[in-house]
Structure formats: structure tokens, C-alpha cells
């Protein structure tokens, strides 16, 4: 059995990024006899006429544009990929995530998109907002807008080919300063309570927490709406109320002792089953 793991590489000098959970998963797969190859897409030149699957399973720990492009080509040629490229692409897009999980009946904060910061002024006048990059992750570039004056420095931003970049904002909801992160592998789900933003290593790991049934159901519905198999959903929880504020494909998943074993089992089984077992990205079905 051959499994390829596409990994992130922050810079060519830094080497691939492997967190403790991924390291344990790799070890467990190798002990079961699987050959596990660690790939960094950014280290290679791909000849697109010759790109064919050579592994039983490709695991997308990295979701960089080059990794997703290459994985899309491999999947079109019949490769088995976890999470699917379509699910990863949807999950990178906060508009698709928010509209998709909301349509599936999962509570989300009121959310808006525009490319013109000036349009956010009236919204900011009625309460604090969180401004988030459309394809951001791990809280990078997230900023609180407490009042219209906080938008003063925001200008229309353009991408390299001259198109205006979208801004995505969400209304601030009452919270306790602690996120409930739900990690899901297939149908198994665990919760970890984490302070946000995380600063220390202990905060990054978080504390195992009880997973209320409605939150578990909401996490699984979110994954189903986006076609994800291995994912995390971040919730703000206040009393009985909760809101999904972020979804991540193949997150770091620290703080759950049994997760690496379950994840290794899941990937091993997926590699044996092949591409026909991939979870389809179902259309969003709006809940009335």
C-alpha cells in the first residue's frame, strides 16, 4: 500500500511542516506496512501531460494553490484523495462555507461580503464586526472592527491580475473567549476547548471538553454540506446557543489522545477502498 501525504512548507529552507498528530499517524501507517511518502508540491516541477496517480491514496495536509491544482489533476486521472479537492476548495472559501453550512441548518453569525470597505460603515455602526480574509486560516489577518472609524485604513485591495479582492465580515456574537473546536474523522467527533487567539503551546493544544449532542450534529452536518471527511469546525458557545465560525479541512487536531489512532485507521481503510469511496460534495440543501 502506498500513501502520499502532501505537506506544507513555510519556506524552502524550513523543510516540510509535520505536527505531532501527523507524525504519529505516519508512524502508525508505516507500522501497519504502508509505504508513506511525504511530498511538498512546491519542491517539484510537474509535467502536466505525464501526471498520473502512483499511490493508493493522496492525503491533503497542505491546501496550497499548487497542491490543490496538482491534486485536482491526479483526482481527474482516478486518484483517491482525502479530503477531496472540491471539498478543500469549498472549505478555503469563507463565502461557500458560511452559505453552505447555514443552508444545512447550522447556526452562523450574520455574514456579508463586498470589495468596498466603505460599504461596511453602516454595519459597523450597529455593532462590532470581525473582518476575515476570504481564504485565510488559523486566524491570520482576522481583525475586530469595533466601530466605523476602525475601517479607516481599509482600502479596496487588488490581486495580481487587477481584480478587486473580496472582504468577508461577520457580526460579533456573544462568547466566553473560548472556542469549542470539534474535530471529526469520518463519523467520529471530539471536542477541545481552546482560548482564542492561541499564544502558548498549551493554548494551541487546548483541553478535552464535553461535546453537546446539538453541536456534534451541527459539526457533522457542516462536514456533509462541504463533502469533508477529516475536518474541524470551530464553534462559539454561550449557554445553549452556538454558532459555527470556521471550518478547516484536515486541521492540526491536537488535544485528543485517541484521534491519531482513529485517523490512521481511517486513512488505511480509505487507501484500501480506493476512489469510489470518496465522499461526494453534495449540493447544499437549504433547510427551510
Amino acid at each position: 500500500m502506498r500513501i502520499a501525504l502532501f505537506l506544507q512548507q513555510p519556506s524552502p529552507e524550513a523543510g516540510p511542516r509535520i505536527n505531532p498528530v501527523t507524525e504519529e499517524v505516519i508512524g502508525r501507517l508505516r507500522r501497519r506496512g504502508a509505504r508513506v511518502d511525504l511530498l511538498v508540491a512546491e519542491e517539484h516541477v510537474f509535467d502536466l501531460a505525464d501526471l498520473r496517480p502512483s499511490h493508493d491514496l493522496y492525503v491533503l495536509k497542505s491546501k496550497s494553490p499548487l497542491t490543490l491544482s496538482v491534486a485536482a489533476v491526479l483526482a481527474a486521472a482516478g486518484a483517491s484523495v482525502v479530503n477531496s479537492v472540491a471539498a478543500c476548495a469549498l472549505t478555503r472559501d469563507k463565502i461557500a462555507v458560511t452559505a453552505g453550512v447555514s443552508a444545512a441548518g447550522v447556526p452562523v453569525p450574520p455574514s456579508w461580503a463586498t470589495a468596498e470597505p466603505a460599504r461596511l460603515g453602516p454595519l459597523a455602526a450597529t455593532g462590532p464586526l470581525w473582518l476575515k480574509p476570504l481564504a485565510g486560516s488559523k486566524g491570520h489577518g482576522v481583525r475586530r472592527v469595533a466601530e466605523p472609524a476602525d475601517l479607516g485604513s481599509e482600502r479596496v485591495r487588488w490581486n495580481a491580475i487587477g481584480q478587486p479582492l473580496p472582504l468577508f465580515v461577520q457580526r460579533e456574537m456573544p462568547g466566553t473567549g473560548t472556542d469549542l473546536k470539534v474535530y471529526v474523522v469520518g463519523e467520529r467527533a471530539w471536542a477541545v476547548a481552546k482560548a482564542w487567539p492561541t499564544r502558548t503551546d498549551a493554548e494551541k493544544t487546548g483541553m478535552p471538553a464535553a461535546l453537546p449532542a446539538p453541536v456534534r450534529e451541527a459539526a457533522l452536518r457542516s462536514g456533509e454540506a462541504l463533502g469533508l471527511e477529516v475536518y474541524g469546525v470551530d464553534f462559539l458557545v454561550t449557554g445553549e446557543q452556538f454558532w459555527a465560525v470556521d471550518v478547516n479541512a484536515f486541521p492540526g487536531s491536537r488535544g485528543v489522545p485517541e484521534l491519531p489512532r482513529c485517523l490512521a485507521d481511517y486513512l488505511y481503510t480509505r487507501a484500501r477502498r480506493g476512489p469510489e469511496q470518496a465522499r461526494p460534495t453534495a449540493p447544499f440543501e437549504a433547510v427551510a
Binding site: A41, E42, E43, H44, V45, F46, D47, L48, A49, L51, S64, P65, L66, S69, V70, A72, V73, A76, A77, A89, L90, D93, I95, A96, T98, A99, G100, S102, A103, V108, P109, P110, S111, W112, A113, T114, A115, E116, R119, L120, L123, L134, W158, N159, A160, I161, G162, Q163, P164, L165, P166, F168, P283, F284, A286
Partner: protein
């Protein structure tokens, strides 16, 4: 009877540009009784969490991130989008587009993908010249030609920080033919490609040999496109190459383009889901 609702998702462009074919198409649709909306999504404040389809058909004539996100959501919520968000996304990523062409055995130049221009040094040392493009570029923005390793742009100067797409440079090929398609109909337009000006350049209708028409239809099928434009090149051995695939082009130079486009969009908006003739 309720009017057929057609919503155009449009891109203003920088500098802003008018598309006379689209303006005429909208007028023709309104003359048929359709209720036509035009939306420049970047210039609106869009409520995302309650987004639901509110038109019988969305015409996706924008390549921006926001338009593609919204079209993807609308389509997954059951809206009809032409071209589909999936097909449009396939054309927009040049890495995926090239692989789609190879997968369908459609002649296209040798194509490479890398993270940085410097990674192409070894290839340029032993191979021919390369055309470097941003992987999500359009209108020729950011395109450069490298004939040797020293001709490569500096990594930090290349306009796509994530992916470099490179194709073999077909120096001796004639690359002045565009093919436009609406459904099964195809037209040829002869025009000289000028980087950064392709949307402004006019052109003359030219007859297409049957094999080029067939190649265009085969390409559209491989991508799932209904409305499309292709940039073609003809090599010295008469091989016709597909250089670029565009979703929902401007159709400049196509005789009666607005009438044909309006008829296609009107029929698509009123289609009840039964088998198409």
C-alpha cells in the same frame, strides 16, 4: 405570467470596460419580456448566510473570486448557472485546464507547473523557450517569454506568488485565430493577440475547417462549457493547438452574436429540466 428572471454576474474591469455584445444581449432579452438584472458583486454588500437563488438563470460573465464563490454557492443551492461554476473554475486554473486538454487528447503545448520561476532553469537549459503565465491569469496579464535560464523573471517579481504555469513557446506557429462557441455553434475570428489588449482588439469572421469545428466542440465537452472562446495556433505541420480556453468570452467579431446569445440564454432560463433537443 411571471417574467423569466435572468441575472448577469458581471465584472467591471480595471480600467472599466463596456461590452457592447452583452449590452445588446440584455436589450434583446428585455425585448423578449425577460426581467434582467445586472450585478457587479464587488460593488454591493452581499448578505452571505441567507443567500438563496432569486433568478431562473445566472449568466456568469465575471472571473473574480467573489463572482465564482457566489456562483458556486448559488449552483449548489439549486440555481442554474451558465457556464456552470465548475466548468468556469476549470478554465480559470491553467494547471487544471492544461491537464483537462491532455486528458481529452486535445493538442496543446507541453505544460509545466511549479511554485517559482527559478525551478524552470533546468528545463530551459535543455529544452526550448517557455511562456510563463500566472495560473489564474487572464487577458494576457503577467505573461512573459523566457528563451534561456537568464530570461526567467525573478521569483519575487513574478505576479503569481503561488503557482507558475509554463508552456512551450510555439514561436513559428500562427496564433491569430480565436474560436467562439455558443452551445453546438462555433465561429472563427482572426485576430492578432496583443498582451493586455485582447478584449479591445477587433477581428474578422473567418470560415473554419470542419476538423477545427470538431476540435472546438470536443474541447467544450471536456470542460463542460456552453459559452466559450478558444485561442488556437497552427503549427508548420498544420497541427492545430489549443493554447487557451476561456469561459463566456466577449464574442467580438462574431456575426449576430447578441441575437444568438440572447436566444441561448432565454431558452436556458426557460428550460424545464426535460431532455434538450
Amino acid at each position: 405570467m411571471v417574467a423569466t428572471r435572468i441575472c448577469f454576474l458581471l465584472e467591471r474591469g480595471d480600467p472599466p470596460r463596456r461590452n457592447l455584445v452583452i449590452e445588446e444581449t440584455i436589450a434583446l432579452l428585455e425585448a423578449r419580456g425577460a426581467a434582467v438584472q445586472t450585478r457587479y458583486l464587488e460593488e454591493t454588500l452581499l448578505r452571505v448566510d441567507t443567500l438563496r437563488p432569486d433568478a431562473d438563470l445566472y449568466a456568469l460573465k465575471s472571473n473574480t473570486d467573489l463572482a465564482l464563490s457566489v456562483a458556486t454557492v448559488l449552483e449548489r443551492l439549486g440555481a442554474r448557472v451558465i457556464n456552470t461554476a465548475l466548468a468556469t473554475t476549470r478554465t480559470r486554473n491553467k494547471v487544471v485546464a492544461a491537464a483537462t486538454l491532455f486528458g481529452a487528447s486535445i493538442p496543446t503545448p507541453r505544460s509545466l507547473a511549479a511554485a517559482r520561476p527559478a525551478q524552470l532553469r533546468a528545463d530551459l537549459s535543455c529544452g526550448g523557450a517557455l511562456v510563463l503565465k500566472p495560473h489564474r491569469g487572464h487577458y494576457g496579464v503577467g505573461v512573459s517569454v523566457a528563451e534561456s535560464p537568464t530570461g526567467l523573471p525573478m521569483d519575487e517579481k513574478f505576479c503569481d506568488p503561488d503557482v507558475v504555469f509554463a508552456q512551450s513557446y510555439l514561436g513559428s506557429a500562427r496564433a491569430d485565430l480565436k474560436v467562439f462557441g455558443i452551445g453546438a455553434e462555433v465561429w472563427g475570428v482572426g485576430k492578432r493577440f496583443v498582451a493586455g489588449q485582447s478584449f479591445a482588439a477587433g477581428g474578422e469572421a473567418v470560415p473554419l475547417p470542419p476538423e477545427v469545428e470538431a476540435l472546438a466542440r470536443r474541447t467544450a465537452r471536456a470542460f463542460g462549457l456552453e459559452l466559450y472562446g478558444l485561442d488556437l495556433a497552427e503549427g508548420p505541420d498544420s497541427t492545430v493547438w489549443v493554447l487557451d480556453v476561456n469561459a463566456f468570452p466577449g464574442y467580438r467579431g462574431v456575426p449576430g452574436a447578441a441575437e444568438r446569445l440572447a436566444a441561448r440564454l432565454f431558452a436556458e432560463a426557460r428550460w424545464d429540466g426535460s431532455d434538450k433537443a
